[in-house]
């Protein structure tokens, strides 16, 4: 009796959850489907779901007309570069805050967090001006630096919460056994820190890849990443749904895949360790 009730409940739960999950996912599914249609099929009424002539034509057209690869490459360089640069700067900082805490460590962490709260639009013109002065406008270097800076607080925080979980006793034991600082970092800390660093890397690539304020305002043609490329579809000519879908699918696919790997880290990273 009890068992049949739970099975029924489980069935109801499953049906409800799948229905809602598919509903929420539907816009993405629809975009992916549309990217394989012809432009005429894309706006067909009634809408075509699975039974249409699947074609890869749009992907070829998008690449040919707009030089899609260049935008993709810009995104890869800017997102990857800003994350790696951020890690290089943040790892020593987070390491020292986690293992050699002082009275001011907490204040420094909180202050770093507060810089993340600064609304971008409030400093738009100064940054714009500095970029013009330094010749950084519409360059990948400039954008890489800005994205590194806006994500640096998150990187430091995430690393800090991970490093905090490494038990200090292990370090002390190593020191007792006569390990030097270099050996301590190389053989004990690094292996234990790698999972945390990897998660931080993953989440920050996602954040940098999707950043759409600075990438839209500080780039034109040369350094524009995918966010800006997609935005250029907001004033299109002629039929473009299938091409928009193909471009969108290519822009989100790599991040969707990375994102599914980083669900757990997402919570920790975006709540600054307040929810784990």
């Amino acid at each position: 009796m009890a068992r049949s009730v739970t099975t029924r409940r489980k069935t109801v739960n499953t049906l409800a959850a799948w229905a809602i999950g598919l509903l929420i996912f539907f816009p993405i599914l629809w975009t992916i489907l549309t990217s394989f249609k012809t432009e005429a099929q894309a706006i067909n009424d009634p809408p075509l779901f699975f039974f249409f002539d699947w074609t890869l034509e749009n992907y070829a057209v998008v690449q040919e007309r707009s030089n899609y690869m260049r935008y993709l490459w810009n995104s890869v360089i800017i997102a990857g570069g800003s994350t790696v640069l951020g890690l290089i700067i943040a790892v020593p900082a987070a390491w020292s805050m986690a293992f050699v805490p002082s009275k001011r460590t907490k204040d420094i962490l909180m202050w770093m967090l507060s810089t993340k709260m600064l609304p971008a639009v409030g400093v738009l013109y100064p940054i714009y001006l500095v970029f013009i002065e330094l010749g950084l406008l519409d360059t990948r270097v400039g954008l890489t630096i800005v994205l590194m800076l806006i994500n640096l607080p998150i990187i430091v925080w995430m690393l800090y919460t991970y490093f905090k979980e490494i038990p200090g006793e292990i370090l002390e034991a190593a020191r007792m056994d006569g390990a030097t600082l270099k050996e301590e970092i190389l053989y004990i800390l690094t292996p234990m820190a790698i999972p945390g660093i990897a998660s931080t890397l993953l989440l920050n690539i996602i954040l940098a890849w999707n950043e759409a304020f600075w990438t839209l305002n500080l780039t034109a043609a040369k350094a524009a990443p995918l966010t800006a490329f997609i935005a250029s579809y907001s004033s299109p000519e002629g039929l473009f749904y299938a091409k928009l879908s193909a471009a969108s699918t290519m822009a989100i696919a790599p991040i969707l895949i990375l994102g599914w790997f980083s669900q757990k880290q997402l919570v920790r990273g975006l709540t600054f360790g307040a929810v784990k």
Binding site: I20, W30, S102, K106, Y125, L149, L152, A212, I230, Q263
Partner: protein
Amino acid sequence: MATQHSRSAARFMMAPAVILLLGWMLIPLTMTLMFSFKKYLPLRGGDLGWVGFDNYVRFVSSSAFWPSVQTTLIIVGGVLLITIIFGVLLSILLDQPMWGQGIVRILVIAPFFVMPTVSALVWKNMFMDPVNGLFAHLWKAFGAQPIEWLSDLSLFSIILIVSWQWLPFATLILLTAIQSLDSEQLEAAEMDGAPPLSRFAFIILPHLSRAITIVVLIQTIFLLAIFAEIFVTTSGAFGTRTLTYLIYQRVLESQNVGLGSAGGVYAIILANIVAIFLMRIVGKNLDT
């Protein structure tokens, strides 16, 4: 047990991050503050000298100001309401035993990873377009007149798009919080005959209150700054000009830097008010 030596090493290791963030914060902030007290029109005469609090007064008294505050509040409030209510319900549902939980989770979280320009354009064209959009097809199928979503229901449409992007975030965090709830407590309540609704109101909801507060604060900070969603859908037309967008227009479109910077200072103050509450919670967590 840190020695003097390791302390100075620690300080040295922290220095690059601290100096960079200090520069990133102080330099532009000082410039924004300075511009806000100047009449500064880069394309029409450049720096025209100090004007005191003129820009601050003019920004607030311009006819666009109060509507933009109202728009901002409606969008932020609307998105918060939708994402929290549905986030709580969805996280409770996802916490139940079911088949294919992992896959459903992935489906629900996916929108968060879609870049803002993509989600805004996909919704604008493929769903909300009054001629070829999916909603228009749906409305016509029922013999109704298709809705001009982004002009007639512009605010609702933006709220819908942004909620779709942020619902996964709220759900994911609330789900994480629910999973930390002691299931024995719920079972005990069930055995004592507490109906589902009271179990929800007296056990689940209080347990979630901290997570909900965090979601509200973090989302508020991000939502106050939404830009791309408005940029590619309405460009601020049809009553969708938020405070952020108004400042952007003053600064980059009409190149009135003084006025825009005064607006920027208002935005910074507003964000800081929210930030203080968030930091208090995060800071408390840091002690434990």
